[in-house]
Amino acid sequence: MKPSTISDNFPDTPSKRNNASKARLLLERLSAHRAPATLMEVCGTHTVALFTTGVRAALPECVRVISGPGCPVCVTPLETIEKAIGFAHRKDTVLFCFGDMLRIPGVHETLESARAHRGARVKLMYSPLEAIEYARREPDQSLVLFGTGFETTIPIFASVLMRAREDNLRNIFLLSAFKSIPPAIKALLSAGDSAVDGFLLPGHVSSVIGVEPYGFIAGEYHLPGVIAGFEAADMIEGILLLLRMIDSRQPEIKNQYTRFVPPEGNPRARAMIDTVFVSRDTDWRGLGTIHNSGFALRDDFRRFDADQLMDFEIPPVQEPADCICGEVIRGRRTPVDCTLYGRSCTPSHPIGPCMVSSEGTCAAFYKYSR
């Protein structure tokens, strides 16, 4: 896979109107459901789509949907945010990051305010591919890519580093905060305190990793999972499939989003990831360290590691007092349980990461359900 633009990665175009009637039909079936069930939507895009499409409001009362750890902004540790801010302030260095990361509060400032008031150099990127051109044009600048996201975005970063190696570009570096979703689900389940009856699994990520990595959910934990798309009809169908498997006690991992997710995923994209990265343990904000859930550079790509540029100290970090983001992304509590929610913590003045990201659970609650 050699993505030339980010739109190449998303051949699926929404066709809202044609699906509205299908969604209504499925919803009718769903409304007949009586047995209580708690489902977790793992991915931030689902969190938002459940609100914006109105599916959440249309669910029968006995079906509870809680959010999981799939918002990349929310699970990036505070230390990593501080590192990024440090790079942005570093002499002759520019930090490339996704828009979502700009407004996360660090210890003293956000990337956005560091740029506005203290001259930090932060460039909002839409695709990491922009880095190649920039690095060529500005050979005296060190360019640090803030690598955030799951298996959907990682191959594009991998392709940038492969190209940088081919072209012998010496001024591109990567701060890897990449994460993998299945180990996080495993960590939630093995903690043993989860009340989840089934998982709505992410569509985009699965288009790369395929169905197999979720096998343990059904195999070891006897719970069902459905990979679902993001239109109303997709999500309702996914929820119906989950409820049916819960009722029949025949848990499996099903793929509702077949038009976008082949069962084997995208082996070429995975090969690109494997060429550049190797699994490592990594910290998740709110969840702690999770085994083999992160991505470190392989030896022959080590020279791109941004850590070698660290000639600065990062301030000691402390999670904002009273913010319960960690509990929220574990599905144990909802934003309205937080004493700060909607009072001192709002999208214009966010305190915790779940209020910053457009995909954060607190932001979604605040925007659409207040």
Partner: protein, 339 residues
């Protein structure tokens, strides 16, 4: 509010409103300015004159469908139109960075003349400043305009009333998405074109309905959502929008879905939102649709009976499933998500 100016504050969202309410209005406020309409209406003798000004900066300066010149003329013409006025005369002030290519400037000015011709207005006065290289990026244009308010029209953001129907003159979000696609090389092909165009003809077509037209706005920064929030607030009403009724081009919708952006919060530069008494809605729609720039016009919602109340969201969206949710006001510059 922050103690320094933030990029957000120019985005037409909540942060812009804060800046307006905390800095400008307390010092400059008067009964005309306080209305916060797209144009001010002032009386000169027996003539009702609409007067407006706007500054333009855009990246890239040239984009599919237009350039900063087209934008600077249409933007001002449309602010006049939204006040129910036909444009008469415009001014243009240029701030240009040293080293800017004359050929590009010529193309921009050419587009300005074309757009002004289309709008039936003349650029009658202007100014040019050149600043040193690096002081700014390329070119900024500020235009002002005066127009004659059409007989019988009295348009205020505060004019919407319960049971009014809401019409948009065409597809949503074309401009913002075209700029994003061009600037960030997102690769949507064929390229998405900006809708930048004057909308004064639409107003001329419906002006005979006079007092049946209650409010109009030009949904630029902040998009349709921004305008609806402002009208709801100014008119002390609540508004319901039907999601499926809002026309959005499929490629624009796809681009928004990819970036996690809401087409209702994205800028338009050739559209008009019209609040009309329900009994005239069909006539308005017919008149607007007769024009090529209005052929995709649609009724997208209505003003509800529920009065406005501070602190509770004034704009509701009815989803395809028939459920209701709040339509949030953009917090600031729309930021794409990590996909």
């Amino acid at each position: 509010m922050h103690d320094k100016i933030h990029l957000n504050m120019g985005s037409g969202g909540l942060a812009s409103r804060e800046l307006l309410e905390e800095v400008f209005l307390p010092l400059l406020g008067n009964e005309v300015l306080n209305l916060l309409d797209d144009s001010a209406e002032i009386a000169l003798g027996s003539e009702r004159i609409a007067f407006t000004t706007d500054s333009f900066t855009v990246h890239p300066i040239f984009f599919p469908g237009g350039n900063i010149g087209t934008l600077s003329v249409c933007g001002t013409v449309n602010d006049l139109a939204a006040k129910g006025a036909t444009p008469v005369a415009l001014s243009a002030a240029f701030t240009i960075e040293e080293g800017f290519p004359i050929a590009d400037l010529r193309t921009i000015v050419h587009s300005m003349r074309d757009s002004a011709d289309l709008a039936g207005a003349q650029i009658v006065t202007g100014d040019t400043k050149v600043v040193g290289k690096g002081v700014m990026d390329g070119i900024f244009i500020t235009t002002s305009g005066i127009g004659r308010v059409l007989e019988g029209l009295h348009i205020f953001s505060g004019g919407a009333r319960p049971s009014d129907l809401i019409i948009i003159s065409g597809t949503a979000a074309d401009h913002g998405v075209a700029i994003l696609n061009a600037r960030e090389k997102l690769g949507f092909n064929p390229e998405i074109r900006s809708d930048v165009a004057p909308v004064h003809r639409i107003v001329e077509r419906i002006s005979h309905l006079g007092p049946q037209i209650h409010a109009m706005r030009d949904p630029t920064r902040g998009g349709i959502a921004g305008v609806l929030h402002e009208i709801a607030r100014a008119s002390r009403v609540t508004i319901k929008i039907v999601e499926d009724a809002v026309p959005v081009r499929p490629d624009v919708r796809a681009c928004c879905a990819l970036l996690g952006l809401d087409p209702l919060s994205i800028a338009n530069e050739g559209k008009l939102i019209i609040f009309t008494a329900p009994e005239s809605a069909e006539t308005v729609l017919e008149c607007v649709r007769k024009l090529p720039e209005g052929k995709e016009a649609a009724i997208i919602g209505e003003v509800e009976a529920e009065p406005y109340s501070e602190g509770s969201p004034p704009v509701i969206l009815e989803t395809s499933l028939g459920t209701r949710r709040f339509l949030p006001l953009a917090e600031g510059e729309p930021l794409p998500r990590i996909c």
